[in-house]
Amino acid sequence: MSKFDFGKVLQIDLTTGQYSSRPVTEEEIYNYMGGRGLSAKFLYDLTSGEEEPLSPQNPLIFGNGLLTGSAAPCSGRYTVTAISPLTGGFGDGNSGGFFGPEMRYAGYSHIIFLGKAEKPVYVYIENDKVEIRDASHLWGKDTWETDTFIKEELGDLEVQVACIGQAGENLAKIACIINNLTRAIGRCGMGAVMGSKNLKAVAVRGHGGVDNVDLEKTFEILSETRKLAETDWSFKLFGTHGTPGLVDVYNSRGVVPVKNFQKSWVPDGEAEKISGDTFLKKYSKKHKACYNCVIHCSHFYEVEGSHKEEGLEFESIGALGPRIGVIDYPSILKANHLCNRYGLDTIGAGDVIGFILEVYEKGLISNEEIDGLTLNWGDNQLAEVLLKKMSYREGLGDLLAEGSYGAAKRIGKGSEYFSAHVKGQAIISCDPRGLLGWGLAFAVASRGADHLRAHPVVEYIFTPERAKEIWGTEKAVDRTAEEGKGKLIKWCEDVRALADCLGVCKFFTRTAYLLPEQLAKLITPITGISLEASNLLHVGERINNLERMFNVRRKFDRKDDVLPERFAKEAIPEGPSKGMTIDVSNMLDDYYEARGWDIATGKPTQDKLKELGLDEL
């Protein structure tokens, strides 16, 4: 019996205004660990499979990881889970900054919002005190204004705020939730779910703390981690450039989408304009970090005469840059800033802009339907105009707010072909035709096109010998081979789920703390819980199966685990990955077999569910 307090689960009914809390149980921790895993369990139990994502029946669950706010390095992550309005299936988003830790200091592991408030409200939580406050004066404000207003109103600048902007208020399906001004619960349209509940913001303030069982060992870990920050390649790469450093890396493999995936390579001279080096030299002022982080991958940057903020992510450069034909930092950075303020997922926003540009280019929509705008690739001012429209659902914006697949369904005329989505969610700016393992990962992820469920970086850093040892074939680490990818992705999904359950950053757990045995060494000194690597893998597997069963209940099956037809039909036309295509069907068989799921339907078998203690599902 450890003396570690796991925190409470707070449930708030926005319809009635009632709330109650109870401690997280040890059983919940041992079976689901916390964070994303425990939120998945709550979401499953609170729904039946029939609920509409934007209805009051969709629960919205804020979930801290087991280690969020603790002494563990890089432990500022929290998750928001709900049925996704974009995919209709399991949805969640994950963010850093300082909101999660503050929620934990207030005493909470998870906060579940049910129902819908009659009028716009925000919820203020200070330790045991819970207040549902009027937010009608905040409705219509962007996330930055909301953050400032709430802090002033409460007379406390140390309050942490997670809020939606106009995009979430107007139920844009690609709306996100923002904390600390630029940290996003980005994917799956969680901002729209929050908006559908008339919940403008959640503000937390906590004066408590997080226990620590073995002080000496914990300080040792912190000391080791500091040394890693100087020697580990991953820590160093992200510590200097942050993810913008990936522009060169991906472009050198020819997998950066240009003009909505018509091409996948930015010619070298051009690529330099949007490289990590250029961002660092021209715009970055200093490093920024999330809670307790040794990597400080973020920056505070300024565009002279325009704006300044914390940032910048590779995905935003990709989505608001080459994907829409723009190779210009001031334009990309301005668009990024607007997405933060309006509360839009940069990936979803860039994706739908690229989509509409191509659809217009191909003559599938008329000038009247696009509000008489001129839609051109490489128009540096276009994103600004369209981001505002989609946040207010104005004119063309009403279509764009649906995301590219939602928009395609409304337009019809074969436009679906041009939507780069899986299950309705936008694919990131990494062309899967050049990265087979990643392509499979996108196709099978529970929350639609997603790279973070599997995040198979080991495809590049494990030896062929180790690949053979773990996955039975050396080809698993060959980026152009299909063999062994199923087993690779299954393993990666199970392992990577652990970071989400613990609330630690995936950049921290990419190398030195990737493997379950390494994670166990982090968990024990802090919480007193002793877990074998096999237990941890089991938890990861359980969570992936639980999310899968959630989707099965929502009527998803094998036919939804598919990449856009375009990627099988059209080869990458130029650059280092020229000639490559991808079709996941063969790899899917391998993946389902590795998972113990039915090959025809992709449904977990009864035996597999029993093995994981999920047979009541």
Partner: protein
């Protein structure tokens, strides 16, 4: 005979520019190219290019010829020919 080498990652700061054209007798093996680069750019380059990654101590830098990893061919003994595009780069690392 000439071929291009593109450098991506910290190693690029140790050479004169991102893409360098080398005039060398071809075919030349990848190992021979590395030896040549070390003789040209010195010990800092040598330390950087031979960086190993735990847990398996694989080479940090990946070498691709015309888009394909040399492990698909003969590893360090793979031959580079005239007109080839060689990429020496840090691994792909997430989105």
């Amino acid at each position: 005979m000439s071929f291009n080498v593109q450098f991506v990652g910290p190693v690029k700061d140790l050479v004169e520019k991102v893409v360098v054209e080398y005039y060398l007798p071809t075919p030349i093996t990848v190992q021979e190219l590395i030896d040549f680069l070390i003789s040209r750019y010195g010990t800092k380059f040598e330390q950087e290019i031979y960086t190993k990654v735990p847990p398996d101590n694989v080479f940090f830098y990946q070498i691709l010829i015309n888009g394909s990893n040399i492990y698909r061919f003969k590893g360090l003994q793979t031959e580079i020919n005239t007109g080839d595009k060689v990429l020496i780069s840090i691994p792909l690392a997430g989105g």
